[in-house]
């Protein structure tokens, strides 16, 4: 059997997290995949062990530019677990609003990029247009488009103003319309059905075996959501009031993962509306001054899945140990289950489908059996993917504008 090895990665100048995928391919079918991470280990856990409890959330926010709420959220939940306390009621309603706005902007970012990878650049532009509204809301509510610095043990740092909340409610109306439009566009499009259905299927057993989290495992039928299963802040009351529900689908393919993310945005909008409408008055900070000795775990459902923080205190001003686990850490190994058997043009989609702070295909080297090495850029893989979509469109007779039409003649 003629086998080719394709290394993808590790460096990409646009996004964080360099990764290396080594694809073993037979013809155009992937046989096996090996992953290597760690090119950009920043030692944040070690750094955190030298900071005071008040400084830690600021540092933790810098782990990810997109999930800049999820990490501090899990971190302060771990601290509150050590303290065995809860934040004041108003803070409990402020936190989910920031968290859910972040989920919407992250999913819209992913949806736009996914559209770009399969050659739907209109989707990319529409999704990012509405993402801007969400970022504007966040700016008015917290003061920043990103890195909000809202979280501290025992509360939040800033209160929401009434004007900002009104703006957010209006923005949510617009975003809801847009998300419903995306839902119609994406889920009724025959090309997307052909292109995404049955690609990169993660079975229920594999999702359990790899302990995959979030929108990678829920489309495979794994019914879990940290916000419901370990209720904290306003998520528990909101779930009991029937405001939202976790989105669990059964197919496990790329299509189901896309659908899961779009449907989750609608649930997030409901949570934001409910929290703002039921926002209680009062204090926003319990005034925690020191953390007693002990250990605590905090987890939060980030846009990509569960973020997990473990902290241990010995009663001094610094954490003794701070363990951080991001969702992609659990989701990346699932490629070993989803990539084999896939067409090489689908690998871009499968890697994008878990939304791994997508980063790795800028420089691709192709090594064939005889160790001939050729290096291509990310555009090559994207082009392969775009061409496959176009071919499907031609079959369906849906091509309105075909950049490769001249070449085919």
């Amino acid at each position: 059997m003629k086998e080719t090895i394709i290394p993808i990665g590790p460096f990409h100048p646009l996004l964080e997290e360099p990764e290396l995928f080594v694809l073993r391919v037979d013809g155009e079918t992937v046989v096996d995949v090996d992953l290597r991470i760690g090119w950009n280990h920043r030692g944040i856990e070690k750094l955190s062990q030298g900071l005071t409890w008040d400084q830690v959330p600021y540092l933790i926010e810098r782990i990810c530019g997109i999930c800049s709420t999820s990490h501090p959220y899990a971190c302060v939940l771990a601290m509150e677990d050590i303290l065995d306390m809860e934040a004041p009621p108003r803070a409990q309603y402020i936190r989910p609003v920031v968290g859910e706005l972040e989920r919407i902007h992250s999913h819209l970012l992913w949806f736009g990029l996914a559209g770009h990878f399969i050659g739907y650049n209109t989707v990319f532009m529409w999704a990012w247009k509405y993402r801007e509204l969400v970022l504007d809301s966040l700016e008015r509510l917290t003061g920043n488009r990103n890195h909000y610095a809202m979280f501290k043990a025992g509360g939040v740092r800033r209160d929401f103003s009434d004007e900002a909340m009104d703006f957010t409610m209006k923005a949510m109306d617009e975003v809801e319309k847009a998300v419903k439009m995306f839902l119609g566009v994406a889920l009724d499009d025959p090309v997307l059905h052909k292109r995404l259905k049955g690609v990169g299927v993660l079975t229920y057993e594999d999702a359990i075996q790899y302990s995959a989290v979030g929108p990678t495992s829920r489309p495979s039928g794994v019914d879990h959501d940290v916000r419901r299963d370990d209720p904290f802040d306003a998520y528990g009351p909101a779930f009991e009031a029937g405001v939202w529900k976790p989105i669990v689908l059964q197919d496990g393919d790329v299509f189901a993962k896309a659908a899961c993310r779009i449907l989750e945005m609608l649930e997030s909008i409901k949570i934001i509306r409910w929290c703002i409408e039921n926002m209680p008055d009062g204090e926003i900070d319990a005034g925690v001054t020191e953390i007693p000795p002990g250990e605590g775990c905090g987890h939060y459902e980030a846009p990509r899945g569960e973020v997990f923080h473990y902290m241990r205190s010995d009663g001094t001003g610094y954490p003794v140990r701070h363990k951080v686990r991001a969702p992609t850490y659990n989701n990346l190994p699932t490629y070993k289950a989803t990539c084999p058997g896939a067409h090489i043009a689908d690998v871009t989609l499968i890697t994008a489908s878990i939304d791994p702070c997508y980063c790795c295909t800028e420089r691709v080297g192709i090594v064939d059996k005889y160790n001939n090495y050729r290096s291509v850029k990310q555009e090559y893989l994207t082009k392969l993917s775009v061409e496959k979509t176009l071919a499907l469109k031609r079959d369906l007779g849906l091509v309105t504008w075909d950049p490769y039409a001249k070449l085919l003649k």
Binding site: I37, G38, D84, E295, R321, R325
Partner: protein, 168 residues
């Protein structure tokens, strides 16, 4: 909610393996087992009780490296923290990555950073640490030198030269 408290179910299923067990908060259980029993205990929690492995944490202590496997039981709404100790001086324990795949990467990470050996690990390669990182140096141990050590010089940005002018 379950009929029986999870802490009682754990005591029943794991029996003598448990050296100590504690439930400090409503949804948190901490239990300690010997390193020889950790595979069996993890198998019971993962397969029989439906625990999802969140991750594992390692902590350098005077007795050895303490390893905590964090499981979350989604249906029973309970976090089970399975602790074990890889005692000094050999720092050896049994691999949970051999029982289910979710633990493979995190054990490779603990190998890199703490120098713990996991017996029976299916794929004991380096994961996060650089290939040319010196042998016998483990960054998360308490005795790790904070400055440059012989044979390994961390990359440091050169300070800017004040004589150099920047033309606009």
């Amino acid at each position: 909610m379950p009929d029986k408290p999870i802490i009682d179910v754990l005591k029943e299923k794991l029996g003598d393996m448990i050296k100590s067990i504690d439930q400090p908060r409503k949804r948190r259980i901490y239990l300690f087992v010997d390193r020889d029993d950790v595979q069996d205990a993890a198998r019971t929690i993962f397969y029989d009780m439906g625990g999802r492995l969140c991750t594992a944490s390692a902590i350098d202590t005077p007795q050895g490296v303490e390893i905590i496997y964090h499981f979350y039981l989604d249906h029973d709404q309970m976090m089970v923290n399975l602790k074990t100790l890889a005692p000094r001086p050999d720092l050896v324990t049994k691999s949970v990555g051999a029982v289910f795949k979710a633990a493979e990467w995190i054990e490779r990470e603990i190998m890199d950073f703490f120098g713990v050996k996991f017996e029976g690990h299916p794929d004991p390669r380096k994961l996060l640490i650089a290939d040319d990182f010196p042998e016998g140096l483990y960054p998360f141990r308490c005795d790790y030198p904070q400055r440059e050590v012989e044979g390994f010089k961390p990359y440091i940005n050169e300070p800017p030269n004040p004589d150099e002018t920047c033309e606009m």
